[in-house]
Chain length 211, copies 2
């Protein structure tokens, strides 16, 4: 079951983004992410958080539409996004896209990206998506769709990642090893419209990026 | 010797930023970062890269001022920022600040942040700095300066980080363990004007963030 999580970072209001949200069977809103859904006139299935960032007007708007809210104390160990992922998993999500997960606050951006690690371990396809980037964490293999010339960067996010094979890209690799901090995998490009990245040991961050 | 590296991402042209650059004994420019220095009317000691992103006008401007350039082929394993760090280390930098290292391209942003790992291993204080964030990678101990209430987030970037002690923050920790993907350390805050973060095993990303 496809799920989108709308967090409180930046979100571009385009037809593409609205389409991704509307096509999801589960729409989960993290606290202040409510402002994005109100602007797009889309109702979520649930709003989850400590409610320190959603405006009273936005909350009232969704309350009047009988949208379910789940409230947590602000002194908690999880971010609102993490609570949304737990809820999504309990409610049988099998594919998760995080929108509004990036922005000026790099601590939140990175925390949202690292949340993908848990999902990779559960074999649940997931990504953080914004106007310029689609970010994946890969622990096995991933197939990517893109346009020839589009950038794909591959970064090891464990001390070492080995058995790395890249296919369908301008700079292919077979059974290679990369260490954290190496820039070897930055700015590779699609040769055709599909590509794949696989890794035997360790974790990779795979980013499809446009300027 | 204090060094700043000016990369080709976003950079806010403020008096603070110009001050940080002018106070550095070594000013190293990565390729298209030249546009920032030209706008600020500051001359670097060297411009390094494959010169696929600096404009011919900007390069001519610095050429006329006799600024040294070091050119690399575009098919290389290192990013321009990584080449700048290598040059800075060869030229005895003992403290490195990366400016213009963040922006819409999250692959470049993350690659620049992960470059700090090598510097942490060499015990060289270093950070990626932009208008909203100061990002450190910590392998031992770091002392931070801030204002009471200012946000400090601590993320493990190895599978596990242990012996984590946080002092001077609203939510202190003593000898704690965090796993990659945990949000436990997100959005802590300064209690006074100094704080410290230390870790015995593993690596932490420490981000001072403002909205």
């Amino acid at each position: 079951m496809k799920c989108v999580i709308i967090a409180n970072g930046d979100l571009e209001y385009s037809e593409d983004i609205a389409g991704i949200i509307r096509q999801a069977r589960l729409i989960v809103c993290a606290d202040g992410g409510a402002r994005h859904l109100k602007a797009l006139n889309i109702l979520p299935h649930v709003i989850i958080g400590d409610f320190d960032s959603a405006s009273p007007e936005d909350l009232l708007f969704f309350e009047e539409k009988k949208i379910k809210t789940i409230s947590y104390p602000s002194r908690k160990n999880e971010t609102d996004s993490e609570l949304c992922i737990s809820w999504a998993l309990l409610n049988h999500a099998t594919d998760i896209t995080i929108l509004g997960g990036t922005g000026t606050r790099l601590d939140h951006t990175l925390a949202n990206i690292y949340l993908l690690k848990k999902l990779a371990g559960l074999n649940i396809p997931a990504r953080v998506l914004n106007k310029h980037n689609i970010i994946h964490i890969v622990s096995g293999r991933i197939e990517l769709k893109g346009r020839p010339g589009e950038v794909v960067s591959v970064l090891p996010i464990t001390e070492k990642a080995s058995g790395i094979t890249l296919r369908g890209l301008e700079y292919p690799l077979v059974n290679a090893t990369m260490e954290m901090g190496s820039s070897l995998g930055i700015s590779n490009v699609f040769k055709e419209t599909t590509a794949s990245v696989s890794v035997r040991k360790g974790l990779l961050m795979v980013i499809q990026a446009t300027d």
